[in-house]
Amino acid sequence: MIEPGAHEPQDPARDRNPSDGPVMDTAVPVAERLVAGIERTTRQIASGGTMWTGSQRVAIASVARSAAAGESGGDGSVLPAPARTTAAKVATDAHSMAQADVDTFDDPAAYVEIVGVVARTIAIDTFARGVDADPIAFPIGTDDPPSGQINPHARQRSSLVPTAGGAGPTTALSLVPAEDQAQEDLHGTLYLTYFEMGDPTIHKGLPRWQLELVAARTSLINHCRF
């Protein structure tokens, strides 16, 4: 069981100090590695990004969280309108995204970073709902300048955005290495590491076939063909 956080934020996407403890309050048993991995994800989102500042990334998460809950808004006041629109659309209608959505941004890295932040936000929100916990609060976002560090080897191939190597689930965000690494980290936390994916008999909280059953049903509900 996870101990309650130090406070109950009014706006959990924006109201947490970095020194606060874990904020998942649930009667469901949760493995320490899950708690630690989710904490890393919230810190990573609130830290300075590649094209967006930490405070803008937390705002992206806030907009995505509201949109997924069927609410308008979220605290996106620090974001330009295209970023707010994209965050909400990736949260609710990712399968409808098109090249025009990417081309809204001068640099596709800005779009890729939004996709990564939104996708991880929805992932940890789904987990929290599943274990009957409140949405997990983010630390206060930093205002350090974005790093601008993209993968110079990424090229436009068969997907909407440039990728390093063939376009696939594990390279989708590779234009922005920090997002690529954050996705791999959370994938290993919530499900299996990329290495563990090669073991059909692995048991990680549940046997592999049970994990895959939930995974497959999730993809079908989302109309995703992977």
Binding site: G130, T163, A216, R217
Partner: protein
């Protein structure tokens, strides 16, 4: 991959229950997991009941890993869809085994 992991561990499962939810998967644990995923990802009002049922069938320790698996694929689905990663062609061939129909490029239940 689900088919491979089920076979590797000797689990008999009717995969058509994934797409055809009127069909039983043939196992109570699988049925409870599918019900939980439906409620969690579909954001339906019976999530508490589905969680309680999964607890009854597999124990409270099953909830977090099941929720985490759903969370991971909520992430990956959005990443591949929003970046336009081409779907593997084998999915079209697998559709009937999963209780699905492929119509105009869309998988339908």
């Amino acid at each position: 991959m689900l088919s491979s992991s089920a076979q590797a561990t000797g689990v008999g499962l009717d995969l058509r229950s994934l797409g055809d939810r009127e069909r039983s998967p043939g196992r109570e644990d699988a049925s409870a997991l599918l019900r939980f995923a439906d409620a969690l990802v579909g954001r339906t009002t019976d999530l508490d009941d589905a969680r309680d049922h999964l607890t009854d069938v597999l124990g409270a320790e099953a909830i977090a890993p099941a929720a985490a698996a759903a969370g991971n694929f909520e992430m990956m689905n959005r990443v591949v869809d929003a970046t336009g990663i081409p779907a593997p062609r084998r999915m079209d061939q697998l559709a009937p085994q999963l209780g699905l129909r492929l119509v105009d490029g869309e998988l339908l239940t």
